[in-house]
């Protein structure tokens, strides 16, 4: 675990950001996009000498081509863009980056064009890229940065985020990671490990060995810390893990099971449930002064707490009405109000990073749904229905949800699988997120480069 190092953000130096405000192409992300924007992602040009040197440094045959492929893949999976086939490109990458022949790009129906150039500067990776509006024949954005060569995949993600932001007006979510539980083995004896990967599935790493059951990892929104539940020594407890150093510790000194942990938005507290004598209540622990506070005090099951992004409110689920429903309260535990009143039972509420919505799991008539509602419970919208799915986690820009889905087994109890899936807030663009093993309990990190 110790060899997992995260790249220093300071090694990523943005050299210039010329901001030109044209109102050119715009992509509307507020509704399902049935006409994704046709975009041409030209391979980033690279001189032979740099190409050779990077081949030695990061074992990559054509780093310019590879980076452009990462951008292409990100834009495509967002569902908002339609990257065009490179076979149709008429202009060579190096010339396109200097001065695109817009007629050529127009001919293949590209509306936006991304070009760029990679060079080796003192064994560092220098990347410049440009975004062009093909119809207007204008440059929309130009950026350059220098970083260590091993950061090359992140360069692709950062370019994707910049393009996404320039064209949609909102922050992207590509330079991010997902922490999740990797699962293997028969359903009755699942082996579970913590795993982390880039948002696009690359760089998958296992963080635990699978000797003990682990569940529900969640990122600290402000650092590379993770909180999760581990059955280490058969004592289910909430742990804190520093993924840079591999250091871990038990959170608090509770005489029983602690579970359902999450960080506060400032990353300074952990909120979780503590179960004792058949009753689960919600507690917080301040990570600096270790002060523990009891937030709910009710003989029902109170669990799955999640803070609002301003830290002033907490949503959670409770069966105090008889069945699992969603409640909102002030962060000190006062003013508890039930907000879910639809048919069925409701659980796993998670407050959107934008503050306006709460995502949840709903069970109604034997089907599980992932949905969203406003924070007062109005405007319920179900995004997807399945045999079993739960535990949505928001992308940092609040536009995409990732969750897990389990299959129904056959008559012999076989055919079980658990997979990660994502869906846009619009209810469109549902897709499976590929993982090397089965996966569950995903949690999306904040943007790494912010």
């Amino acid at each position: 675990m110790k060899n997992i190092k995260f790249f220093l953000l300071s090694s990523l130096i943005i050299l210039f950001i010329p901001i030109k405000s044209f109102s050119l192409i715009e992509v509307d992300i507020t509704r399902g996009n049935l006409n994704p924007l046709p975009v041409a992602v030209s391979p980033l040009s690279i001189d032979e000498k740099s190409k050779k040197s990077f081949e030695g440094l990061v074992k990559n045959k054509d780093i310019g081509e590879e980076i452009s492929r990462i951008v292409e893949n990100n834009l495509k999976t967002s569902g908002l863009f339609n990257p065009l086939s490179k076979d149709a490109f008429l202009q060579a990458p190096d010339i396109a980056n200097l001065k695109p022949r817009f007629e050529d790009w127009n001919l293949i129906k590209a509306q936006a064009l991304i070009t760029g150039k990679v060079t080796n500067v003192d064994d560092n990776l220098r990347v410049e890229f440009r975004l062009w509006d093909v119809l207007a024949g204008k440059e929309m954005m130009a950026l350059a940065f220098t970083t260590v060569p091993t950061n090359w995949r992140r360069v692709g993600h950062i370019i994707s985020d910049k393009v996404y932001e320039r064209l949609t007006g909102e922050k992207g979510y590509f330079d991010t990671r997902i922490i999740y539980v990797a699962e293997e083995g028969p359903k009755t004896k699942r082996v579970k490990k913590l795993a982390i990967m880039d948002q696009d599935g690359a760089n998958n790493k296992f963080l635990t060995l699978g000797n003990e059951l682990v569940l529900t990892p969640r990122f600290n929104p402000t650092s590379q810390m993770v909180t999760y539940l581990s059955y280490f020594r058969n004592l289910p407890r909430v742990y804190l893990l520093d993924i840079e150093t591999g250091m871990q510790e038990v959170v608090g000194d509770f005489p029983g099971m602690t579970f359902a942990p999450r960080f506060s938005p400032d990353g300074k507290k952990i909120i979780m449930s503590f179960a004792k004598d058949g009753n689960s209540d919600i507690y917080t622990m301040d990570l600096e002064n270790r002060i523990v506070e009891k937030i709910t005090n009710h003989p029902s099951i109170d669990t799955s707490p999640s803070y609002s992004p301003n830290g002033k409110f907490i949503c959670f689920n409770s069966d105090r009405s008889g069945y699992q429903q969603i409640y909102v309260m002030k962060s000190d535990g006062s003013n508890v109000k039930r907000i879910s009143f639809g048919n069925g039972i409701y659980g796993t509420p998670v407050w959107s990073p934008r503050g306006d919505l709460i995502a949840f799991t709903k069970l109604h008539k034997g089907k599980f749904y992932i949905g969203v509602m406003r924070t007062d419970g109005s405007g319920e919208r179900l995004l997807t229905e399945n045999f079993y799915q739960e535990a949505p986690s928001w992308s940092p820009n609040g536009r995409v949800l990732i969750f897990y889905r389990e299959t129904k087994t056959d008559d012999k109890g076989e055919g079980f699988s658990a997979k990660l899936w994502s869906i846009d807030l619009t209810g469109y663009n549902e897709r499976m997120v590929k993982t090397p093993t089965d996966g569950s309990d995903p949690s999306w990190s904040s943007l790494l480069s912010n």
Partner: protein
């Protein structure tokens, strides 16, 4: 007036019981379930001859059934005779609930069993409780019978 009210309430309760039992009878789908509580013995193991190791629950419930209480009384008797034995009560839920809620539900079920054993004289020092939520089903099926086997509290010898 007050008596009248009490009588009325009693009548309502009697009626409610009647409705429930009628409902339960109707729901029996196989010889192995009563309502949706498992009554079979497929998965049951024994702490000693005639002492079953587990009790079963209805969906979302942690209330002990008559059969469960009988099983726990047998366990209490056996534990009284074997006073050096300590136990772990492992609480479980079926796969049809969210993971975190099920952890709490498993804990609640195991504690229902613990409370009952304590009323039959077993010291809480000898009992620890461990919830697995839905993490350790005994039956991997995705059907009501399999789920009923998985909603359980299992008494496991700890020493």
């Amino acid at each position: 007036m007050k008596l009248n009210k009490i009588l009325k309430n009693t009548l309502l309760i009697v009626l409610a019981c009647f409705a429930l039992s009628a409902c339960a009878t109707k729901k029996v789908s196989t010889g192995q379930m009563q309502g949706d509580v498992y009554t079979g013995t497929d998965t049951v193991e024994y702490l000693a001859s005639g002492v079953p190791d587990r009790v079963f629950f209805a969906t979302n419930e942690s209330v002990l059934t008559t059969a469960s209480r009988e099983t726990l009384r047998k366990q209490a008797g056996w534990l009284r005779k074997n006073s050096d034995v300590t136990i772990v009560l492992e609480g479980h839920a079926d796969e049809r609930g969210t993971r975190e809620y099920n952890l709490a539900l498993g804990e609640r079920r195991a504690n229902a069993a613990k409370d009952y054993l304590m009323t039959y004289g077993i010291s809480s020092d000898r009992i620890s409780v461990l919830s697995y939520g839905k993490e350790r089903p005994v039956d991997s099926g995705s059907n009501p019978l399999a789920w009923s086997k998985n909603r359980r509290s299992v008494t496991v010898k700890a020493n």
